[in-house]
């Protein structure tokens, strides 16, 4: 029978199941198909901190949300239109986010007494009518899969494992996704295990056919490709983009890359990714702790590498003393903080923006450090290159802020031409400047470039530039130990002036205000770019004007920021913290900015944000 096709402009799907059910993989594949199909999309993986909580329990639930549309979108979406629940726990954990009327596909096989009681269902929700509000599609996913694979010689366990491919097949049919990508993927992944490979392919097709044939699914949905700028695209997560950005920076600066790191969620994948690329001469060192990680990086920087250390909040705190040393000896260093929910261990797999003030002020003494933040998964690539530019140009540690949402979230990325990337190797004269090798009065490690105030980066192995550096205060110019009171005051101010001076190399803050008459500005930083943009659009759709601007540089600020802030009657600053950027804006510009804060370990919901914006506008 042919099915009716309904066109939609966007869909939000959430796959939810047990950690063992392979929901992340299912989501990734559906994402790839969707990207290839040409929709714009945004994803939000969500998994427990435990490696594997007991099967079938609420803490064990893992989910993957995908938002795709025929227009460009900015967030993984607030509430799913479709929920795929592989077991009762997945249903219970996610139902509260499901709007009435939404499609609900459940794996009935898992709704056993035992599993139900595990999560405190005394009655079976599939039967007690409690799900009436939704369009329920009960599917015996497990048994259908096992049945489809009965001809293959597989253990029942292996057969059951393929049920996520059945689900993927079904959903792929439901939304008319292409399937070549997935078939190729399965070939690459299981090529060496033909039975498993066959099992997955068969399950996928069985799912597809199930949709095709069963009565239950009377409509099929179509979401047209989005009008996206022409070019070559790929889907990319923030951690991958960040890793590639660092490798690119090394190439662009013509410097060997060195990463000193200690594993920590959600930053570990950057270490994993960089460790793969020895072909690019990347040295990765898994240190014994974060202090050694940043220390080794500083040592490598002293030796002339583009040195990096990557971590998350708790590790960031541990690096503070060594970053302070880097400030004092003025060597390039990239310190990546993939923020997670705190304080302390907090919620390792959840996102947050609460390390901003630590990044700026979390060291003893006057210890200024530039801070750069990424705005979206693919933007992590460019943010990393910008961090490297500042580090090598100004001979300073730079803190690059990402977060758990960017790290694991993904989006389509138009792959840039290498030629379009900045040539960092011309950004600085390596080793000797501003000391012409021939200048009479010998080499002075703290003589500064008049423009950037950068000191020479004189690496061991360079004859004639032998010198000693250290964390004790140094005499201006010659750099030998000095306890002279006025010299200290001068050096403290010079180090600050050098960082403040970076503003001269930063593009002015762009404000997006299509109507041109907005009285309210929404100013954000970091990973909230997408949700703020989506919220701003909603507000504009209601005919109201609102301006949006987003900060890449948190220290120093772009030089026109003060002027921008004063241009608007009201400035709303949404942050996933208690108002850290707001404090800086108020303190530096004496502007009474309004904070919007939700510290829930999740990205903002566009809806709640739009409400907040309208609230502010209405009080105009």
């Amino acid at each position: 029978m042919t099915k009716q096709v309904q066109e939609l402009d966007h869909v939000i799907i959430r796959f939810a199941g047990d950690s063992g059910d392979g929901m992340q993989l299912t989501g990734d594949r559906f994402t790839q198909e969707t990207a290839v199909f040409g929709n714009d999309l945004s994803t939000l993986p969500n998994f427990p901190a435990e490696i594997r909580a007991p099967a079938g329990t609420l803490p064990g639930v893992s989910s993957f949300q995908l938002h795709f549309a025929d227009h460009d979108i900015l967030t993984p979406g607030d509430a799913p239109d479709v929920l795929v629940a592989m077991n009762p726990a997945a249903l219970k954990a996610n139902l509260k986010d499901l709007p009435r009327g939404a499609d609900l596909i459940v794996n009935t096989d898992e709704f056993t007494k035992r599993n139900l009681s595990k999560v405190g269902y005394d009655k079976n929700p599939l039967e007690d009518g409690s799900l009436e509000a939704y369009s329920l599609h009960p599917v015996p996913l497990t048994s259908l899969t096992v049945k489809a694979l009965e001809d293959l010689d597989l253990t029942r366990k292996d057969a059951e494992r393929a049920k996520n491919m059945f689900a993927l097949g079904l959903l792929s049919w439901l939304y008319g996704r292409p399937s070549e990508g997935t078939l190729n993927f399965l070939e690459q992944k299981f090529g060496k295990k033909p039975e498993i490979y066959k099992a997955n392919v068969t399950a996928f097709q069985a799912g597809w056919n199930y949709g095709e044939t069963t009565e239950d699914f009377s409509v099929r949905y179509e979401v047209k490709p989005a009008p996206i700028a022409p070019g070559r695209y790929r889907n990319i997560t923030g951690n991958t983009a960040l890793s590639y950005g660092l490798i690119a920076a090394g190439q662009l600066a013509k410097l060997p890359l060195f990463l000193g790191s200690y594993p920590i969620t959600p930053a570990s994948d950057v270490l994993h990714e960089l460790a793969k690329h020895k072909k690019f001469g990347v040295r990765t060192f898994q240190a014994e702790d974060e202090i050694s990680a940043v220390g080794s990086a500083l040592g490598a920087s002293f030796g002339g590498s583009l040195a990096i250390t990557t971590t998350s909040g708790p590790g960031m705190a541990l690096k503070a003393e060594t970053v302070g040393l880097a400030v004092s000896v003025e060597l390039p260093l990239i310190v990546v903080d993939v923020q997670r929910a705190g304080p302390s261990t907090g919620m390792p797999t959840k996102t947050e923006q609460a390390d901003l003030l630590m990044a700026i002020y979390g060291r003893n003494g006057e210890s200024p450090v530039p801070v750069v933040a990424a705005a979206s998964p693919s933007d992590c690539f460019y943010a990393a290159i910008e961090a490297a530019r500042i580090a090598v140009t100004y001979r300073t540690p730079v803190i690059l802020l990402s977060d758990g949402y960017l790290a694991n979230g993904s989006e389509p990325w138009q792959i840039p031409e290498i030629s379009s990337l900045p040539d960092l190797s011309t950004q600085f004269a390596f080793t000797t400047a501003p000391n012409p090798a021939d200048n009479g009065d010998g080499f002075q490690p703290f003589r500064r470039d008049p423009v950037t105030l950068a000191r020479p980066w004189a690496v061991p192995g360079t004859p004639g530039l032998e010198h000693r550096i250290g964390g004790i205060e140094k005499a201006d110019g010659i750099g030998s130990i000095s306890y002279d009171p006025d010299n200290h005051d001068l050096m403290v101010r010079t180090r600050q002036a050098k960082i403040d001076g970076i503003a001269a190399s930063i593009p002015p803050l762009q404000v997006e205000d299509p109507d041109g008459d907005a009285k309210v500005l929404v100013l954000g930083w970091g990973s909230t770019y997408g949700s703020i943009g989506a919220a701003v659009r909603r507000v504009r759709r209601t005919g109201q004007s609102v301006a949006q601007a987003h900060l890449r540089h948190l220290n120093p600020f772009p030089s026109n920021l003060g002027e921008v802030l004063h241009r608007y009657d009201k400035v709303l600053v949404p942050e996933i913290n208690l108002g850290q950027l707001a404090l800086l804006l108020r303190g530096k510009f004496l502007v009474d900015v309004i904070s919007f804060n939700r510290v829930r370990g999740l990205p903002f919901r566009a809806a709640e944000l739009a409400e907040a914006i309208e609230e502010v506008i209405s009080h105009e």
């Binding site: 022409p230 790929r234 040592g299 002293f302 690539f381 792959i415 061991p460």
Partner: protein, 350 residues
């Protein structure tokens, strides 16, 4: 090949440029040396500076990295590249440098507090990794720079500013600790014995990988004569280890070592036991048990204190292994940035 006309290169420097003909004063910086009068650090600095030319390494390829402490001020006085870092972190910083620059000769200067207290973790990890750095631990069994608190090598019950009633902590034996941490080269020397100290430095420079050298150093201000027993002209308890030679010490070498029960080394009148039972020192044994037993001879009272090279067993240095991985990976050509960022799952939009 014993007929080799010129001395072979020190083995830890195979990847470091060669330059002969330097002198001690080439390694003297213009900085005025600032230690207390009579400090053992002066002697160690002098020994180090006059040894450096033996490396036959250009000055610019020698790097000296230290932490914080009186001892850690040494880099300022050596005219090469130097890094006076922060307390306890020198081994970590040196690891990053050595791992990324196999063409440098990297020396770490540290103290008993710097290396064994706050820096203990970096020390043991750099040793197990066999990073190509040479660690000189100036052990004065006290915190000098902070004016005299007890350290992890201070004897138990020590009365100091921070322990007016006597310290409670059982001290580390630095040699035992290093051996327990898989160190491939472990030695001990004395500030006042330049010849011996330089022989140990030479052996360290010849060892591929990390070398740990404990140097007894006198702090006349806060812990004077801590090592007096081993500094008397003919210190009876001082045992000079020499690879391949019978271990002899005491009044004109009358004493030797034999194995007691449970592999415990015991000092005996050499004459009182058959020649065959006297221990002949072998620093190259793969099993560190013998070196460890030697380290336990030193019970803290200096009754028997071996100095020299306890252990020198070859193991691939970290920097070489890391370089090898890169070379292997790049054998098939370097990476191409464009194809890296594109990956293999792209699509065209037109």
């Amino acid at each position: 090949m014993s007929e080799a006309t010129e001395a072979p290169r020190l083995r830890s420097l195979t990847l470091v440029p060669h330059k002969a003909g330097l002198s001690a004063k080439d390694f003297k910086s213009d900085q005025e040396v600032r230690w207390c009068p009579g400090c053992g650090d002066y002697a160690i600095l002098a020994a180090f500076q006059s040894f450096l030319p033996e490396l036959e390494v250009p000055r610019e390829n020698v790097v000296v990295i230290s932490g914080i402490g009186c001892s850690s001020r040494l880099p300022y006085y050596v005219d090469s590249y130097g890094f006076h870092s922060i307390h306890g972190r020198a081994p970590a910083i040196a690891t990053g440098l050595a791992a990324s620059r196999p063409d440098l000769s990297v020396w770490v200067i540290t103290g008993d507090g710097d290396a064994l207290s706050i820096g203990g973790n970096h020390l043991i990890h750099s040793l197990r990794r066999n990073v190509n750095i040479k660690i000189l631990l100036f052990n004065n069994r006290i915190y000098g720079l902070t004016k005299g608190q007890y350290s992890p090598t201070s004897e138990q019950g020590k009365v100091t500013k921070s322990t007016p009633y006597g310290s409670l902590d059982h001290p580390f034996n630095p040699v035992s600790l290093a051996l327990g941490a898989e160190a491939s080269f472990v030695a001990r020397s004395v500030d006042s014995d330049r010849k011996h100290l330089q022989s140990v430095l030479r052996a360290a420079a010849d060892h591929p990988g990390s070398a740990f050298i404990e140097i007894f150093q006198n702090c006349p201000i806060f812990n004077d004569d801590a090592f007096a027993p081993v500094k008397q002209p003919k210190a009876p308890g001082l045992i000079r280890l020499a690879h391949g030679e019978q271990v002899r010490f005491g009044p004109d070498g009358s004493m030797g070592l034999t194995y007691g029960p449970y592999g415990a080394l015991t000092a005996v009148e050499a004459a009182s036991v058959p020649e065959s039972e006297l221990v002949v020192h072998d620093a190259t044994r793969e099993d560190p048990s013998y070196a460890f037993a030697l380290s336990r001879l030193d019970s803290g009272d200096f009754a028997h204190t071996p100095i020299g090279v306890f252990r020198s067993a070859d193991r691939t240095p970290y920097d070489q292994a890391m370089a090898a991985q890169l070379e292997a990976a790049q054998a098939g050509g370097k990476g191409d940035l464009a194809s890296l960022i594109a990956g293999n799952d792209t699509w065209e939009v037109s």
